[in-house]
Point group: C2
Chain length 449, copies 2
């Protein structure tokens, strides 16, 4: 059953909420997955959503709230009292509980934690609040099934039975010593196939991958991807098992990171969404806008030096955009390929001379075609002014070559000095190529015209 | 054990390969995960890698080859005979087998399929080759554990035992009727906790999510993410269970998609890597370069109309880059936010008037700050020419407002007409904003100076 949301369905539900028809609401919601109910909440106003959530079982409501998008959730939970919140946080998965509390202001957070009935959950949450949400400590949940290495498969099955309600996804059982030090795992498949009396010590897998609480999210994602894991245990410096990170959280993390990367390329400072406040959006957009303008002022300073040439042949000005945008486009094309292969572990084998040799060939062929195209195009624009068109074509060719070289070298140099090339390449390359481009263009103009 | 690759280790291994010290190679490789051996292969030359692979167990070798990056794998497998390839394809997971064969040319592909000992694998591969690799049919594997609804838990455990070797990751057992129509699943947790004699019919979960072979990859990823699934069954039009898609493949798919999205923003046509051939790279880069140039020629045509103004006040030309890049930056910032919220299902509640109202406020505040900044900056550049600086500031303000509006509206309009706004917005918005920007600038120059 794949659920599809319709306007009619929402209208029907809104009517039921208005009429406080709890019978209809409960029956309808029972039919749906928690994630589908989360989708419905986005379509209701805050009070309607609040009413609907309050009609549901606490466990179900907690899961629905956990599924919500952080920005929408923050707005939505404003109408909840701390007591209501505490009720849901009490039964939510520990990692979701921490995320939700992190979105609240400090007073609400403290009130809610004080009100939690499950004191173990409260202690864990207090510990987890110390980690930023992009390291293993901030991504992990405490819900997992663990067993001591001295126990048997029968005891293990009992343990699974006891914890089954708390732990939604059991992929494997974690094996520890008496001090809680992580020794390995037993997969559920192995437990099913083992004789009930077998000792855990005889069947567990000791050769496993684990991470520390401080391991960064990118490395967590990389490890889970490289080793095809569905869960990754998190240990402290002594090797004590603290929690696990499940693959669904890593998938969410990777998706968010991808969005942030795209935003960096689009020139947005910080992770924002269209639904954020006007001021947040302005703050995310202005810095890069102003940095870009500083680059343009430097370009203006260069062009200003050639005002005699411009005054003599004003048509020169018409091709300034061609020079700027061609340089920018070529630079971003080159650098993004290099950034990408730097991020990819399988690219280690490309040596610097090999990289340059290839990028120069690509640049040369691009420059040739772009130069011919520029000659033809500018002839059309400037009324068959052959000398000027020749200058434009020469400039385009030089700029394609130079911008390719800069675009290839910049990320390599930044990477060498330990600066993340993905973030720093864009603005640096665009500005440098702009300045280089105008310099070359006006130099050729000055020399040839 | 978290493996780290060192130059010393590679040198040691290369020495062992040169001396044909198979004992050393086998002992060392036994210590490692298959994915770590894949990493090592990237550092060896093709013949060394070929030799190393041939020393390993067929199953292990097949897994290592499956883990390789497609581009590197294609190059690497060129030294393998069809008979060698067939040996590995025979035991590889069916989805990987299809991927590997898809990378080979048609003769090799047919030879290998003809040589496969496992004829069931051969038949499945022939079926799968019909699907593009970005739909469910191309992402699925046939390896899964299934059982008939009429059977018992005891029989199910036997079935798991029988298939355990073939199916590496068992998350759940699929339940079908006698015709193979998918009815539901039983989780391993439930099997462990159930009494051995229980009937599958009594314990299986019938309310599950499945997809058709033609479902696109993005939807597969979205479903698995929304419902936190680790595997998704694939059925044909009659509902017959054909295979499953596992979350590790979806994680790979999402990562690749993110890379492609970034490439689109960077102006690359088609999915390329730095290691691709010179000609492939030129083909990916030239189209967008030339399209961008056409836009610049149109800009040149506009600027050309004002050559009297430029001849009179050549300093006007100096601010052409400022106008162009500010408009471009603002447009991409605005459009990427809208594209992002169009892709996000939770953004459905933003109405058009609400969107425009907000985007105008953001634009207004940005325009105000950018305008003041432009006034100051241009005063510095043009030697305190107040009238010109005023014109530049006015133009920047107008362009920030106009480009924001265009950046917001264009993706919405494209989306309305069913055109993917993510792909088409970038070049369209950049070109339109350039033209708009130069038009406004020279109009203000013409009117005020």
């Amino acid at each position: 059953m794949n659920f599809e949301l319709t306007k009619e369905y929402i209208a029907q539900l809104q009517k039921a909420i208005e009429e406080q028809d709890t019978g209809f609401i409960k029956t309808e919601m029972e039919e749906l997955y928690p994630s589908d109910i989360s989708e419905i909440l986005y379509e209701l106003d805050t009070d309607e959503a609040h009413y609907l959530i309050n009609q549901l079982e606490t466990d179900l409501a907690a899961e629905i709230i956990s599924n919500l998008d952080p920005t929408d959730r923050k707005r939505f939970l404003k109408v909840f009292t701390s007591a209501e919140l505490a009720e849901y946080i009490n039964v939510a998965d520990s990692d979701d509980a921490v995320d939700i509390l992190n979105e609240q202001n400090i007073e609400v957070r403290e009130e809610v934690i004080a009100l939690l009935k499950d004191r173990e959950q409260a202690r864990f949450i207090l510990d987890m609040l110390n980690y930023p949400n992009d390291v293993a400590g901030g991504l992990m949940q405490k819900e997992l099934v663990k067993i001591k290495v001295s126990q048997t498969v029968t005891e293990c099955v009992e343990e699974i039975r006891r914890q089954a309600e708390d732990v939604e996804k059991v992929y494997a059982v974690y094996v520890t010593d008496d001090e809680g030090i992580l020794l390995g795992i037993v997969s559920l498949k192995k437990i099913i196939l083992a004789k009930r009396g077998s000792k855990i010590a005889d069947i567990f897998e000791s050769d496993i991958v684990s991470v520390k609480t401080t391991t960064i999210g990118e490395e967590v994602a990389d490890l889970m991807q490289r080793y095809d894991l569905e869960a990754l245990p998190v240990v402290n410096v002594q090797g004590r098992l603290l929690g696990r990170i499940t693959i669904d959280d890593v998938l969410d993390f990777v998706t968010e990171q991808a969005q942030e990367d795209l935003q960096v390329v689009a020139g947005l400072a910080g992770d924002v969404e269209e639904t954020d406040s006007v001021l947040t959006l302005v703050k995310a957009r202005l810095p890069w806008l102003l940095v870009g303008m500083v680059g343009s002022f430097m370009a203006a300073k260069i062009i200003d030096r050639f005002d005699d040439s411009v005054a003599a042949i004003p048509a020169i000005a018409a091709f300034i955009p061609l020079i700027g945008s061609t340089g920018g486009n070529v630079g971003i094309q080159s650098s993004s390929l290099v950034v990408q292969s730097l991020a990819d572990k399988s690219g280690l084998d490309t040596s610097l001379p090999e990289r340059l040799r290839k990028s120069l060939w690509v640049a040369f062929l691009n420059a040739l075609v772009a130069g011919i195209f520029a000659f033809g195009g500018s002839l059309l624009v400037d009324g068959a002014n052959v000398p000027l068109s020749f200058v434009v074509a020469m400039s385009v060719m030089s700029i394609v070559m130079l911008a390719s070289l800069m675009g290839t070298l910049t990320p390599l140099v930044l990477n060498y000095f330990g600066i993340n090339p993905a973030i720093a390449s864009g603005p640096f390359i665009t500005t440098t190529n702009d300045l280089l481009g105008y310099g070359v263009y006006f130099l050729i103009v000055y020399l040839l015209l």
